[in-house]
């Protein structure tokens, strides 16, 4: 089973320095423990798939039969694809928490508490007491201090006239407060390749898992945020910070107006003295196992793109915000009662749009780079599918492919409508 010993150092976590070394040690312990415990823990099936998907293309499967016409068996291909999608699909599982190979002693993720052995149950109970009675109040206090000083600090700095002193103070407030907030989440963040850190006048794009992505990046340097104006506590913070720092907040009605968004971002980028913009081009939170389609808007602005890959370690807590299931407060409570937020941040070499490359191609190139660095799966799907239905054009694409095959096989002369033009 898992060694009881790793609970020892939890007692000394009140100092930040100890905290990070504890985590490193705990990781090693947990990994060791997992290896030992695996035969026990893996009794519940949590391997990574139910089925092996068939990758044969429609052309190969149907046209490979050397026939000249439609056949009744043509539907077999679509049937099998349909059933595969029902049993396991690429997209919807990215909108719920990642499945872990072994239970991480938290009452969450896909494997909730289950009885394995008395020893493990004792460890779990001690863990609950530590997390809820000790860590949570400490973290909650820190978070309250962080948020209050952010609001007060930026409001005060916001009163100053625009000058280099103001931006210096504003950065100071942002950095200090986000560092307090990262502590409140017990964040242990490793920043890689700091020489590639986003520069002023550039655009930083990153994969998106949770609202805390922004705090994690701000912890190591200031950004001008881009986003929609929220209500509640988020709204208060947004209104306060925008006085001190040139964040770009849009009203709900303005977001739809793509020209206005692009115009305001262009103006920001044109001013080389302004902080780099931070954009999450997926437009929604994904569970940190994949990167979905990047919206092309951010890549039409021009200027240098600084890609950043963020990868959380799910062993210590689930950073993904499943916004359709939890509101922001219960999400933060879950995070604050987890073991910790452990993540890697990779700053990647800046990228610019190549000649002859359109915004979509450029977006895909940046996305591939981020996916590769972060070890994430690349998916061509739009993250908007979390809420919206898939566009009919994708189905039409499939129908067009099938029609083309009938035509190529000679059963009919040519396509009736001008579909050859693509």
């Amino acid at each position: 089973g898992v060694d009881l010993g790793f609970l020892g150092p939890w007692a000394c976590l009140s100092t930040g320095w100890w905290w990070s070394s504890c985590l490193v040690w705990a990781t090693i312990r947990m990994e060791k423990g997992n290896k030992k415990a695996q035969p026990q823990l893996l009794k519940t099936p949590v391997a990574n798939g139910i089925i092996e998907r068939d990758e044969t293309t429609m052309e190969k499967e149907i046209a490979g039969l050397h026939r000249v016409d439609f056949e009744f068996s043509d539907i077999f291909y679509f049937c099998r694809k349909g059933f595969e999608a029902i049993v396991e699909d690429e997209v919807t599982q990215r909108f719920s928490s990642e499945e872990l190979v072994s239970w991480n002693l938290l009452t969450r993720t896909n494997v909730n508490f289950h009885y394995v052995s008395l020893r493990l149950t004792v460890v779990w109970v001690v863990g609950v007491v530590v997390r809820y009675c000790f860590l949570l109040p400490l973290r909650f206090t820190l978070a309250a201090i962080g948020i209050t000083s952010m609001i007060v600090g930026t409001t005060v700095v916001g009163q100053l006239p625009n000058s280099s002193v103001k931006s210096y103070l504003s950065e100071l407030v942002h950095l200090t407060c986000s560092r307090i907030l990262v502590r409140a989440l017990s964040g242990t963040i490793h920043y890689h390749n700091k020489e590639n850190k986003p520069q002023k006048g550039g655009i930083c794009v990153a994969n998106h898992t949770s609202p805390i992505d922004a705090i994690i990046l701000t912890n190591d340097g200031c950004y001008a945020m881009v986003g929609q104006v929220h209500g509640g506590l988020m709204g208060v913070i947004q209104r306060a910070t925008v006085k001190a720092c040139p964040h770009v907040w849009f009203e709900r009605s303005e977001v739809k107006d793509r020209h206005l968004v692009t115009k305001r971002l262009r103006e920001h980028v044109a001013d080389k003295s302004k902080l780099p913009i931070l954009i999450f081009p997926e437009g929604t939170c994904i569970n940190n196992t994949s990167v979905m389609m990047f919206k092309k808007g951010s890549f039409e602005i021009g200027g240098t793109i600084y890609p950043v890959a963020i990868k959380y370690d799910p062993q210590f807590g689930d950073a993904f915000w499943n916004s359709s299931k939890y509101n922001i407060v219960s999400y933060l409570l879950r995070i604050m009662t987890s073991w910790a937020i452990v993540c890697n941040v990779w700053y990647m070499p800046p990228m610019v749009r190549k000649e002859g490359e359109d915004a979509v191609q450029f977006a895909n190139r940046v996305r591939s780079a981020i996916a590769q660095q972060g070890g994430l799966t690349e998916l061509p799907w739009d993250g908007g599918l979390k809420r919206a239905k898939v566009k009919d054009t994708f189905r039409e694409e499939q129908q067009k492919n099938y029609s083309k095959m009938l035509v190529r096989n000679g059963s009919i002369g040519n396509l009736s409508t001008g579909t050859e033009s693509d």
């Binding site: 092996e52 009744f72 699909d89 997209v91």
Partner: protein, 182 residues
């Protein structure tokens, strides 16, 4: 669980995983799936035959399917294992037999359930597969030719026996199976 596993011949772990899939698709959290729950799977929603496939999960007049029904329909797509081929034929035929797989495909065409695929029914499926890319006229001639080739009794419709005959050379066992892991 035991009896279910034995009729569907899936392992305990496969059933557990399929149950967790079922609950994650069940957005209404009422233990059943509706058509909308299926349509929320993007890869299924873009499938030209998606609506027919979804339909196969629902009994006549029902708009909800429970886990048992879900598994029954899925079972058609379980591969046939070697030891099953040689099994004695006394018990009820398993859902994943060649004949049941063919029957499943036949029912996707046969919308009015009269055990015949009429020219109209064939045209409907063809239209779903080609979309707007092929004219009515051309599609009509494809349908006529297909029926002509398969029709043996001259009633201009395809019975299940004729359907089986046309597909006798097709590797139905492989094409209508999905590979389950362990």
């Amino acid at each position: 669980m035991g009896s279910r596993a034995s009729t569907l011949l899936l392992s305990h772990s496969q059933i557990t995983r399929l149950y967790s899939r079922f609950t994650s698709l069940d957005k209404g959290e009422n233990g059943t799936l509706s058509r909308e729950d299926f349509q929320r799977i993007p890869e299924l929603a873009i499938n030209p035959l998606g609506d027919r496939i979804i339909n196969a999960f629902f009994s006549e007049g029902e708009d909800q399917v429970n886990f048992r029904g879900f598994m029954r329909t899925l079972a058609h797509f379980r591969p046939i294992e070697d030891n099953e081929k040689s099994k004695d034929q006394n018990g009820p035929e398993p859902l994943n037999s060649r004949s049941n797989k063919l029957h499943f495909a036949f029912r996707l065409y046969d919308l009015d359930k009269d055990d015949k695929i009429s020219r109209d029914e064939l045209l409907q499926v063809l239209r779903m597969m080609v979309g707007v890319n092929i004219s009515d006229e051309q599609l009509g001639s494809i349908a006529d030719r297909t029926i002509q080739e398969a029709d043996q009794d001259g009633d201009s419709a395809i019975s299940f026996a004729e359907f089986v005959k046309v597909l006798e050379k097709v590797d139905v066992e492989q094409k209508m199976s999905i590979r389950f892991l362990h």
